[in-house]
Symmetry: C2
Subunit: 285 residues, 2 copies
């Protein structure tokens, strides 16, 4: 492999369901910063390489939320799937306004490559998540190059765009309450204008609904959405996702879950279905 990366530095290690949850720090060339990620290695990884599910978290989150709250390790340990959770933005920079709001800047990288100053040097979470992190994981950990991707809210948007923009790179994709149409919601418009500028044409490369219209690969989308989610109508727009999939004949299983909200209690309730969805794609020889 030509892109040899330095081994990441171990920060913490917890045994969990007979596997190991580990947090690492490394210097990212994509973001130009130190980045922290978490990896859960199931017990099977002690004797053979295992496939990897990448989990992208939502606004305000770090690598820790999913690993602490989703309860995914139990079934991942049973199925033999590693889970990698990156942070949601660069850290340690102190750009003007970076820490002023929960939905832009730190904790809110939106999984794009920023083109606008002062963000474009560091806010390159798309390159980090799609290229740099998997290359590092596949070099330094006992994993295969079979990859799946999922995420929540901003991270659901991230999972969908990463899969839609990279045919063949992911065996499967799913999302919880994704920001489906960021070009047309307040969170997305704030992020895309800030990171990419005011030309809405440039936003289309980072919007699932736009990407579905021209997807080369019809990778089936599994999406869970709580019907009692406070952000449903204004920010998440599952109707737009459904319309885009219908128009493009893109396979979508959109499950509206009555009574469920935007919290990790919602994610925990349905993570098993998502893990089994990914296992069906990842564990085929």
């Amino acid at each position: 492999m030509s892109n040899v990366s330095a081994a990441p530095e171990l920060l913490a290690s917890n045994k969990c369901f007979d596997g190991w949850l580990k947090r690492y720090q490394h210097t990212s060339s994509a973001t130009g910063t130190e980045m922290v990620f978490a990896i859960f290695l199931p017990p099977q990884a002690q004797t053979q390489p295992v496939p990897v599910l990448y989990w992208l978290s939502g606004l305000t989150c770090t690598d820790e939320n999913f690993m602490q709250k989703a309860g995914a390790q139990r079934l991942a340990a049973e199925l033999g799937i590693a889970i990698v959770a990156p942070d949601t933005s660069p850290r340690g920079t102190d750009l003007p306004g970076e820490h002023d709001s929960y939905d832009f800047g730190s904790g809110a990288g939106f999984y794009v490559n920023a083109t606008q100053a002062p963000w474009s040097d560091n806010y390159r979470m798309y390159d980090y998540v799609v290229e740099e992190l998997p290359a590092l994981i596949e070099q330094h950990f006992p994993v295969t190059d079979k990859r799946a991707i999922s995420g929540h809210s901003m991270g659901g948007h991230g999972a969908l765009i990463c899969a839609l923009k990279n045919p063949g790179r992911y065996a499967s994709v799913s999302a919880f309450a994704p920001i489906s149409n960021p070009s047309n919601c307040p969170w997305g418009e704030k992020a895309l204008s800030g990171y990419l500028g005011d030309d809405r044409e440039a936003w289309k490369a980072w919007d699932s609904c736009e990407l579905i219209a021209r997807a080369e690969e019809k990778l089936p989308l599994l999406v869970d959405q709580g019907e009692a989610d406070n952000f449903l109508a204004e920010q998440l727009k599952p109707d737009a996702l459904q319309a885009a999939c219908s128009a493009a004949e893109h396979p979508l299983e959109l499950r509206l879950q009555p009574g469920y909200d935007h919290s990790y209690f919602f994610i925990a309730s349905f993570i098993e279905d998502h893990l089994r969805h990914h296992a069906r794609a990842l564990l085929i020889d």
Copy 2:
């Protein structure tokens, strides 16, 4: 029922595994303060009363840690068991030194009834957990009077003493990494001397190892302890628990778990075994 209590005030509600996780606040007569607790009601509670597992958390925790991190709701929803998690101390008071350390005062009530000033008016977590909270739960929620109790670290100590001091009150008991012999460890000596005074005779009523020696009821104890737990030798003393049980012929299943630490990742890994242990006792008609 003669002890009618005012209905607690609902603070938050999340659907979870087809049941409901709810947080409530109420005025406690035991502590003289407002107290917050969480209750998970499994889906079965919508049609019939269900038994209750009380969970006591450790130092620094609130009602939230277990519900967010242990992953217990999945199986509790399947088995039809409610879970109640109280806070770990009174809040809202501002006693001298109350907030100075993580292992005494706020967040560290130790599940005793304090006898020493200035603690004795409020730090009555034993009465709260054993008497007041179950009475309130059984009056206002669709539950039976079948109770089990479990907890972690300081809360493991709490679970053991509550069960040992109250024959017949709990159908089953278990603990994760309990402070087994608080009279003989730094955490326990600090707490018991602070809340109860310097007379070590008075401590014996709050020490599992002492209580086992004179237990009227031989309720089997299930205890999990991680072998990589940083607090094992100095604070937790599973050997003392084992010796006390051996001497008194008290049934103890002490499981030393290689590689596991003191974290909620350890609890999550084994909570299923504990829930099944409690279900065997709670779900007998």
